[in-house]
Amino acid sequence: MAIDTVLWSRLVTGLTLAFHVIFATIGVGVPLMIAIAEFIGIRKKDYHYILMAKRWARGFVISVAVGVVTGTAISLQLALVWPNFMKLAGNVIALPLFMEVFAFFFEAIFLGIYLYTWDRFKNRYIHWLLTIPIVAGAGMSAVFITTVNGFMNQPGGFVMEAGQFTAVDPVQAMLNTATFSKVFHVLSSAYLTAAAMLAGIAAFAMLRKGVSAYHKKALNLMMAVVLLFGLLNTLAGDVSAKFLAEHQPEKLAAAEWHFETESSADLVLMGWLNAEHEILGAIHLPKLLSFLAFGDFNAEVKGLEEFPKDEWPPLLVHYLFDFMAGIGFTLLAVSLLYFLFLFWKKRNELNKWMLRMIALSAPLAFLAVEMGWFYAEVGRQPWIIRGYMRVEEAATTSPNVKVLFYVFLLLYIVLGITCVVVLRRLFNNNPAEVEMEKWLKEKSNHSEGDPA
């Protein structure tokens, strides 16, 4: 029975986080895109970019609403579903949680102002300046909350005494060894995903209704951002792998099905395991795991067998890792191809297949975010605070948690579907070109032709 409640607790939390992370990623990434578009629009006096910022912001609020409510849900569930965890760790992680709320508060205030002051300032840059606290607030909340996750992976900044954390140093707990690589990877992937999403939307619109100036500009801009953050994200992934090799070797070993410690270890792609833990049907890339882990083709990589078996992460995480990394490289390749076509005049960068690939990149990017988080979280099993508290010690004892799983599942299905329906209605009934014309007509009626 005890095991059952634990599993249900994990499922409730996993469900909420999996749903929240979609909107959280949009929430962190999209403000930067809005800020870039508005800035270029003012700078170039090009209405298309300002319209872009406006339309993105309009869709953004809807997704922020769902992000806010699911974020509230997860923060409350921390104590409701994991009371023992919060009792113990609350002493150490309260600071970043508190700071996260501040960042969120800051963002909420300025988002409200931003949305309702589009035409209130004579100098358009003043309105643009409002995006800075929004981008910063969104980014900082991601940073703070990621330090909490970093702490759960690499606990530090305290002394364990009789089952209690004492001599707490909250700042040191925040700046644990996992924090840098995690924050870097979370931010770069959020910006990458948001840009891939907006590029995908533009590509999708052009596939359906033909090429238009507005969508072409949006696609160009977002593909540039995809390229930039695709590169940064690859770097972040590399930093994360090197971090794992050094500090959490069991997680990396589980991801790579690397059982025996050896030098010049192979990187294993896909495949499956038989009962004796032999790898079948996989592609082996010689020596690459050693390179990924330590930047040296001949380095020794610790294998899973060095760890007690009851501390092994589930071996399924191998697939999560492979898909995440695979999608990351795909996104990068698509953006490279796009710019290759753009500059190499013989090819049309807006051909059907290119657009289809870009449109497909959007859901793939979100899939990669999910896979990455599942890898990070499932790969830390059986620990909730690695080395200090196991998941089953932390969960609630209430049997009601099973029912709640279904209730929350229903809630998220309803919210997800309604959100998509509302967003579709918002944009389908009001295409960019129509809105542009209407807007220009209004402007000329007011005889204020100057956009800046």
């Binding site: 609020v61 809807i62 609403a65 769902v66 806010v68 409510v69 509230t72 849900a73 923060s75 569930q77 921390l78 104590a79 409701l80 579903v81 994991w82 009371p83 023992n84 919060m86 009792k87 113990l88 760790a89 609350g90 150490v92 309260a94 600071l95 949680l97 508190f98 700071m99 996260e100 709320v101 501040f102 969120f104 508060f105 800051f106 909420a108 205030i109 409200g112 102002i113 949305l115 309702y116 209130r120 954390f165 004492t166 001599a167 707490v168 140093d169 909250p170 700042v171 609630t396 209430s398 948690v401 709640l404 209730v407 929350f408 809630l411 919210l415 959100c419 509302v422 918002l426 009001n430």
Partner: protein, 337 residues
């Protein structure tokens, strides 16, 4: 002053802040729905959404802020309240989720739907009811700790008149606070038809508010003698609260100085809320958690206080900016911007 005392005072202040802003929000949702049902929505809905749209997210943060703060300063609360409140807390989460997202769907989406408005209005009354359960629990006698497991005694909770009077008080206070704020907002907007309607709402909801406040107080006396006595020692705060209520009623009834009337309502609840809070000292959960026993480590307490001050330096100017732009900018309120 020790940091745990600073902590609880600040948190109580924030809970009070949430009480006011959330009441305005929750009540406005209900009034918007009620007005649509009685075909009076053309009078007030635009006014309500003009105020709420830029600030609804801020309201939500107040709540998370209080919650994270109390878990941070007093981690033991997470254990007791977390274990006991799994079901009522989850219900509150679901209601908050429905409310927040359907507000956005209704107001920023393209189609105005009565279903969305209903969800928004109904949850506005159910959320205060579900959240007030936490206040009831703090009085003790509803939570049992046996063999390392904390459980909530639902039977005692549902059969106790105290819990129902607190729920009732929460709901009517929400409607009273909200309507007295909206009266003020309508008067700033010089929207006379809305003003008339909302003034009727405010006058109507004042009576049940004061009656249920007294009822809850009496049942508190039967349930928790210590808390009741402590509050009686603070009789002057309670008397002040009643006096402020009278002034607010007089102003509303005579139909002038609506801003002052709303300030009186705010102060009325401030006095009562702090009398209640100070009377509960030193318990956070009678008899399991006291402020001293459950405080976080001194280093963390200090860090939280420091961050708190830093955060306020950032937030207060921002909040002032919001108020200037959306509350005290007469042109915006009137719908000209």
């Amino acid at each position: 002053m020790s940091y745990e005392l600073i902590g609880i005072s600040v948190l109580w202040l924030f809970l009070y802040g949430y009480l006011i802003v959330a009441s305005i929000d929750f009540g406005a949702g209900f009034f918007a729905f009620y007005a649509r049902l009685t075909k009076q929505d053309h009078l007030i809905n635009r006014l309500i959404s003009r105020y709420l749209s830029p600030v609804w997210e801020i309201t939500n943060v107040f709540f998370v802020f209080f919650y994270i703060g109390i878990v941070g300063f007093f981690p033991d609360t997470a254990y007791y309240y977390g274990s006991a409140l799994l079901v009522p807390g989850s219900i509150a989460i679901i209601l908050l989720a429905i409310r927040g997202s359907f507000y956005a769907f209704e107001n920023y989406g393209s189609k105005k739907s009565i279903v969305y408005l209903f969800l928004y209005g109904a949850t506005g009354l159910l959320i205060p009811a579900s959240l007030s359960v936490a206040l009831t629990l703090s009085e003790g006698g509803f939570i049992k700790e046996q063999g390392g497991a904390v459980t909530l005694d639902y039977w005692t909770l549902f059969t106790n008149p105290l819990s129902w009077s607190i729920v009732g008080l929460a709901i009517v206070s929400v409607l009273f606070i909200s309507s007295s704020f909206l009266v003020f907002y309508a008067s700033r907007a010089e929207d006379h038809s809305a003003l008339k309607l909302l003034r009727n709402y405010a006058l109507f909801w004042s009576t049940p508010t004061i009656i249920l406040a007294l009822t809850a107080f009496i049942y508190l006396g039967q349930h928790n003698e210590r808390h009741f006595q402590n509050m009686m020692d603070l009789w002057w705060l309670l008397a002040l609260s009643v006096a402020l209520f009278m002034i607010a009623m007089w102003l509303l009834f005579n139909g002038r100085r609506y801003g002052l009337a709303f300030i009186c309502v705010m102060l009325q609840f401030f006095c009562a809320f702090f009398a209640y809070g100070i009377g509960q000292y030193p318990y956070i959960l009678d008899p399991y958690i006291t402020i001293q026993s459950s405080a976080t480590s001194p280093a963390m307490g200090l860090a939280l206080v420091v961050v708190f001050i830093g955060g306020l330096l950032l937030l207060i100017p921002s909040l002032i900016l919001v108020f200037k732009l959306f509350l005290f900018d007469a042109d915006y309120v009137k719908g000209k911007k």
